[in-house]
Amino acid sequence: MGNLYLINKEYGENGLNLASQDKEAIVVLLHDGVYISPKLYPSKAKIYAIKQDVEKRGLSGKLSAKYMVAFSLPKHVEYIDYYRLVDLIAENKVINFA
């Protein structure tokens, strides 16, 4: 059981700072959390985002691995749906910043 950080934009930075202390952090960007600069993603964390949140904001390209590599950004973001999110919640401790 790891720590699952649910991150929205408003005080997501506080959550990402804590996730940076965490060797096995799992981060999920929820709603406006996808606007947080990828530069703030913890380097060791696995990063997820909700696919429909990303798509309706027109950010599918910007959070993609291709974009991240092209701009030397730190991470690949994996898109998931709410069913997968529920699995992650069931498997991990939830750290709320959403």
Partner: protein
């Protein structure tokens, strides 16, 4: 299967938290998990049954009614309800009850995960 507790502190429409809460809770119920939700602060505006908007076939209260139908237990903070003039939740959709923070304490004791939005 797990028991999931939720606390929602924002109302319908203005901020997206209510929708994310409904999306997670619905997915959890569909997967067979148990859902217990506490509506706190502006969260108590969500289950008002009289919400109407011509262009919007599914209103926020309908999403909460769907959760109730799927077995979610939803309790609204009574102090918050009365402060906002909602008269002990008399205009709530069926299945949503009005309680207090001790109910939330019980949810906290009971669930396996807690999600606050």
């Amino acid at each position: 299967m797990a028991k999931l507790g939720f606390m929602l502190t924002l109302g319908p429409f203005q901020f997206e938290n209510w929708e994310t809460t409904c999306n997670i809770a619905k997915a959890a119920l569909d997967k067979g998990h148990e859902v217990k939700m506490f509506l706190y602060l502006d969260g108590v505006y969500n289950p008002i049954k009289l919400q109407t908007f011509p262009d919007m076939p599914v209103m926020p209260k309908d999403r909460f009614a769907e959760l109730v139908a799927k077995g979610a237990k939803i309790i609204a903070c009574g102090i918050c309800v009365n402060a906002r003039g909602l008269e002990k939740g008399k205009d709530y959709i069926p299945g949503v009850t009005v309680g207090g923070l001790p109910d939330f304490a019980e949810i906290v004791s009971d669930v396996d995960r807690l999600i606050t939005l």
